[in-house]
């Protein structure tokens, strides 16, 4: 039998994890990783946190040590772009005109920031944040800036707001809806985070969207809002979500929704083509509808689906079966989320808001389906376990912060 060849398109968490897992599960064939970016896979979460604040520099961002690629015989090809896939021929075409054959293809093409279609969005003072070069440009621009306007009260925008407040900038956040983080969190947590930002001196304006960004003669810009006023500031960060990079897959005829549709092994609708990472929509066993493919956009979902895809390539399929989890750091607040926010759950409160240490558990039919914790990592870790084991739990136990949830698992 000829040597099998796995080609990975992309160069971030999913790409790196597919390669690592394929090897861990015993794949002995060739692996090529083709990435548009100029650097090997690196960590993205710090870009809006410790990298931006200056606590962590570029040298500390790579996901793995340099020798990973040679040790694992991964042919890492940076700065190269795949332009099309031919699923019948099992090959792909690169921008430089060459053709690459594959036996397995893993699409780890990620996502791109959603653009805000308003005049002035392309001005030099306006930033989106996704890649290291985005972060480097933003960091340089913040040097000497006095006032930052963030458009979008989501995780990235709020993390950038927190860092910039700590760097001493004046910060204004515009949120088009009636609450920050509305799609991701129960209202109680959103309100707590909003109050925390306001206490730190951030001006958060709800029900307020940006209509236009104009440049002023002194080099500053003005964000014209839906309220009719204009916010004069030095720099603008737009964080209004991400769009999956699925064009290659769509053009090759793969089934796509918002994201490339896969099963819990990362298998797409096309034979021998897998997808993982922020471009992949897959059924999550712990969602309200466990059949519905969805985009989770988290490190956890990326790594766990990529691991499953790697196991499939190696011939030892281990389907995705993980409890979703996520984290965000803002000021001295560590937010940890376990499970998925559904919207139909009942909430149980545990802890002490004034001490900035509490959790909100989402309950559905006497089981925990989600948990949102502030500075309460034990609650978070125990919630992950409760969700995984689909255990019935007494509300009174959850509500009592003195009750150690760990004892629920002791026989």
């Amino acid at each position: 039998m000829s040597v099998q060849r796995l080609v990975i398109v992309g160069g971030s968490y999913a790409a790196q994890q597919v390669a690592a897992s394929a090897r861990e599960f015993g794949f002995a064939g060739d692996i090529a990783m083709i990435s548009k970016e100029d650097q090997p896979p690196y960590q993205r979460p710090p870009l809006s946190k410790s990298f931006l604040s200056g606590k962590l520099d570029e040298s500390r961002l790579p996901l793995v040590g340099e020798s990973f690629y040679s040790d694992n015989r991964v042919d890492l090809r940076l700065g190269q772009e795949v332009v099309s896939i031919d699923p019948l021929q099992r090959d792909l075409q690169l921008a430089d005109g060459t053709t690459e054959p594959y036996d397995w293809l893993a699409l780890c093409t990620g996502a791109r920031p959603r653009r805000l279609p308003i005049p002035g969005e392309a001005l030099a003072q306006v930033h989106y944040l996704r890649t290291l070069s985005d972060a480097q440009r933003l960091k340089r621009s913040l040097d000497g800036a006095a006032h930052l306007c963030v458009i979008g009260g989501g995780f990235i925008g709020l993390e950038v707001a927190a860092v910039c407040r700590q760097l001493g900038l004046k910060v204004t956040v515009l949120e088009a809806s009636s609450a920050i983080l509305q799609r991701a969190l129960p209202g109680a947590i959103g309100q707590f985070l909003m109050a925390s930002h306001e206490q730190e001196g951030v001006s958060v304006r709800l029900n307020c969207s940006a209509h236009e960004i104009t440049e002023n003669p002194n080099g500053s810009v003005s964000v014209v809002t839906s309220k009719g006023d204009a916010i004069e500031c030095d720099q603008v960060v737009i964080g209004i979500g991400a769009e999956p990079n699925q064009q290659l897959a769509e053009e090759a005829g793969l089934l796509c929704t918002r994201g490339i549709v896969t099963d819990t092994l990362g298998q797409s609708s096309a034979d021998r083509i897998l997808a993982a990472g922020d471009c992949a929509a897959f059924p999550s066993p712990f969602a309200a509808d466990p059949e519905q493919p969805m985009l989770l956009e988290s490190i956890q979902a990326t790594r766990d689906l990529a691991r499953a895809a790697g196991s499939l390539v190696a011939g030892k399929p281990q389907p995705y079966n993980a409890v979703p989890w996520f984290w965000s750091d803002q000021y001295n607040l560590k937010l940890q989320i376990a499970g998925l926010y559904r919207g139909d759950e009942e909430f149980v409160f545990r802890g002490d808001v004034s001490a900035q240490k509490f959790s909100v558990f989402g309950m559905h039919q006497s089981r925990v389906v989600s948990a949102f914790s502030i500075n309460s990592p034990a609650d978070h870790m125990m919630a992950r376990k409760l969700i995984a084991e689909r255990m019935d739990v007494e509300v009174s136990h959850l509500e009592d912060a003195g009750f150690k949830l760990k004892t629920l698992f002791e026989k």
Partner: protein, 107 residues
């Protein structure tokens, strides 16, 4: 440069050098040491960089803060008196040599 020795349960050990200011977790990741997952990249959010530190070394390190202490209660491998999250252990010129043992499992 500070040195860290990673001991595996099978008795094998690997010593690596890293810049002062980096964490034990980063030393592991940069040198592809197996058994340190570090899913959250070092923000004390996942408890997958658990290590065991000897009692003598423990005394030289800054003690675990409340968040780390809570996370250590939730590690997959059993918490022992020398349990720490390696992302919270910073190598400095004072703490320039450290030996840690990697537990059986992280996830």
């Amino acid at each position: 440069m500070p040195k860290v020795t990673f001991k595996q349960l099978d008795g094998s050990a690997q010593t690596v050098e890293v810049k002062a200011g980096l964490s034990v977790m980063e030393a592991a990741i940069q040198n592809n040491i197996s058994g340190i997952e570090a899913e959250c990249g070092g923000s004390c959010s996942c408890a997958t960089c658990h290590v065991y530190v000897s009692e003598a070394d423990l005394a030289r390190l800054e003690p675990a803060d409340d968040l780390e202490d809570e996370m250590l209660d939730c590690t997959v491998s059993e918490r022992q008196p020398g349990s720490r999250l390696s992302c919270q252990l910073t190598l400095t010129d004072e703490v320039s040599e450290l030996t840690v043992t990697i537990p059986e499992a992280q996830v």
